[in-house]
Amino acid sequence: MDCYETRMEPGDRLILCSDGVTQAGLGQKRYKFGWRRSGELEFAQNIIRKSPEISAKDLAYAIAFQALSISPEKCTDDISCLVIYLRHPRVLRILTGPPYHKEHDHDFAMLASGGANDVIICGGTTASIIERELHTKVEIDLNLMKASGDLPPPGMMPGIGLTTEGILTLSKVCTVLEKKQQDKIPLAAKAIINRIMENDCIEFIVGTKVNEAHQDPNLPLELELRRNIIKRLAIILERDYRKKVTVNYY
């Protein structure tokens, strides 16, 4: 077994693959000697040129599937690809719940406008506070209702990010992550989970004002308290999904 040592800088990628990748297409007119290292490298460089931020996972998939597609008829060798991408951590900020003191609304809303790679706003009241403070408007596409399952449809706040309903959606996200559920995930929960997976650090900004209407016994379901859901989420994200989680209360 050979050992190699290399030094990587932020932005560098290390691509490892089985010889089924470099020898893909072997014997075909165009690939007399297979795809070879040079072909694979050129392919990877083209992809990175088109999407400079492509994730390690997506690049590995792209290479493996390209190798598969240039193989004659079916693949005859093991095709595996591993990509390591050295980059700065990506930060997702999730704002949920109205601040306890109304006079903090503006500072709270400002946290939606910068300082993270991506932002999600979970909660109707939370979204309307940010709409008011940042003079923007959420757009909800009603055509998405069909895929919305048993959750309200997600929306977009232009220039800010995704918006969803709060308690029901976050509870669903938590359950899906805890149960490692793969399908039949309502659209809004799926949208949050996809963004969580694309990022490394998850910052929860939790407004602690409780909507008393949520505690009304006339509601058909018992709603969990926001703080408890966030605690459950923080635990599961750190333990099972290797995310760095911070929680700040407002």
Binding site: G123, G124, S128, L142, P153, G166, A213, H214, D216, L223
Partner: protein
């Protein structure tokens, strides 16, 4: 003619008490209304408090809040607002 605006609250309380059905209202609306009514969903109308939760679900029609909204009550209100219809 200016379109009648119908805004549907997508907040937690309203959703649990019936908004889900209302969000499909455009699909069951009479065909001839579709050019006269603009339906949109908004994150929250901020109308539920501990005192009036029983008013949910809420919608807003031409700027006016309607509580206990149902497909029927929304249709009735739109009928009143459509020109000509009220005089019949």
């Amino acid at each position: 003619m200016k379109k009648i605006t119908l805004e549907i609250c997508c907040g937690t309380t309203c959703y649990m008490l019936g908004t889900q059905k209302l969000l499909q209202i455009e699909n069951i609306m009479p065909e001839e209304w579709k050019n006269c009514v603009a339906v949109s969903a908004i994150p929250c109308l901020n109308n539920c408090t501990s005192e009036n939760i029983c008013g949910a679900p809420f919608v807003r029609i031409n700027g006016e809040i309607m509580s206990h909204a149902s497909v029927e009550s929304i249709f009735n209100r739109i009928r009143e607002l459509l020109p000509g219809e009220g005089e019949e």
